[in-house]
């Protein structure tokens, strides 16, 4: 179980990028992390992975996250964390050296599924291929907790749909996914839980079962939690239209 207790993070000139965030994620969950740009999604994930310093406590099965258990966490980011000059095959070798749990079978299977070239440097991949490869690495590392931060930015809808299907098909019961994305409707069908973050604070946390029981869609839940004003667009258009008429 991954547990965050009172986690806070401030940047230079940005207070409370995370503000006393407490969150528990159990094994086997597929958690969607939603929030507007700058809400703190990436900061939260990077804090868990130890890429940022923070105040508070983050533990994995009761132990602080350090070199002994960091291999249980993997990370796919839209910024990409692979080596652009290496080939897919080189990456496989590197991961095998570094992570005892690396699954060659899953890596090869996903490479075949996405029809990615084995011996081309990653820098020559298309954006979509780079995203796919980033996710393949995260899924093949053999981690229990897989963090994905906007992994599909730049992928077309068919690519994304394929990926969702594969993800659901290959995940083992003990594998947990924390998926940060803006593609709420696309992922709503397969996440088991939604966590909403705004201005560094968790403002919503609901399971898919609870949503189903109450008959609210994920999108409606998010709009409600965010106090989304449906008339926002029409009012803006009215104001802008009025301005233009005035001119």
């Amino acid at each position: 179980m991954l547990e965050l207790k009172q986690v806070s993070k401030s940047y230079y000139k940005v207070d409370n990028a995370l503000n006393c965030v407490s969150l528990t994620i159990g094994q086997g969950e597929i958690v969607g992390l939603f929030g507007e740009n700058g809400a703190g999604k990436t900061t939260l994930i990077k804090s868990i992975l130890g890429l940022l310093r923070f105040k508070g406590e983050i533990t994995l099965d009761g132990a602080p996250i350090d070199r002994k258990n960091i291999g249980r966490l993997s990370f796919a980011t839209s910024e990409h964390s692979f080596f652009p000059n290496l080939t897919a095959r080189d990456h496989r070798d590197f991961y095998q050296q570094q992570f005892d749990t690396f699954s060659d079978k899953r890596f090869s299977g996903l490479m075949e599924f996405f029809a990615l070239p084995w011996d081309k440097a990653l820098r020559s991949f298309s954006t979509g291929q780079k995203n796919q490869f980033e996710v393949i690495l995260a899924l093949s590392q053999g981690a229990d907790y897989i963090f994905m931060d906007e992994p599909f930015a730049g992928n077309d809808v068919f690519n994304r749909e394929d990926f969702y299907k594969v993800l659901l098909g290959i995940l083992e019961p003990h594998e947990t996914v924390l998926l940060s994305t803006h593609l709420i409707e696309e992922v709503s069908a397969f996440i088991s839980r939604a966590v909403l973050i705004r201005k560094g604070e968790i403002i919503g946390d609901v399971s898919a079962i609870d949503l189903e029981e109450t008959g609210i869609t994920l999108m409606d839940y998010i709009k409600k939690t965010y106090h989304y004003r449906p008339d926002r667009v029409s009012r803006a258009l009215e104001t802008l239209g009025g301005e233009e008429e005035g001119v």
Binding site: G50, L51, I70, H80, F82, F83
Partner: protein
């Protein structure tokens, strides 16, 4: 040594070519400079030694240490220049992607540090060892022109006088 083996001690995908080129160049440049500089100094010392033995002037010969220091000084600079390579190796993990995220979350704590520093450190040490060997090689030329009365003390003492 195979290139591939060297590559294992560099940032993944960067290769050893930059470091190898740097140390090959500095090795050749430093050696050339040392040879020319020391030859010129030996010629000057020979003239001074002749002045002493002929009694024309009362001059003091520079010590071997002072003489060789000038010739080998670039090696120290080149070795310290390896620090720039360490910086370049680190910055490489921000080029084209953020592979730094991967390197910083590896179970092997020292992997990032190892890949950034191994070749620059090894190259720096090799340059300094080569400079020391050159000093040993240069020493007989100095001793050969020492006039009588300028008895060489023990090797180490002369080095550090």
């Amino acid at each position: 040594m195979k290139k591939l083996e060297l590559d294992r001690h560099c940032p993944a995908g960067m290769g050893s070519s930059t470091a190898v080129a740097y140390y090959t160049t500095t090795f050749l440049l430093g050696s050339f400079y040392a040879a020319v500089n020391y030859s010129l100094q030996i010629q000057r010392l020979r003239r001074m030694a002749w002045d002493i033995t002929s009694g024309r002037h009362e001059v003091a010969l520079p010590t071997f240490h002072a003489t060789v220091e000038q010739a080998l000084f670039p090696f120290l600079l080149f070795a310290l220049g390896g620090l720039v390579l360490v910086g370049l190796n680190y910055l490489y993990h921000y080029q084209g992607s953020r592979s730094i995220y991967l390197m910083r979350r590896l179970p092997r704590r020292w992997e990032l540090l190892r890949r950034c520093t191994t070749l620059p450190l090894a190259g720096g040490v090799l340059l300094l060892v080569w400079a020391l060997l050159l000093a040993l090689l240069f020493r007989p030329f100095y001793l050969a022109i020492l006039p009588e009365g300028y008895e060489a003390a023990g090797l180490i003492a002369v080095f550090w006088r």
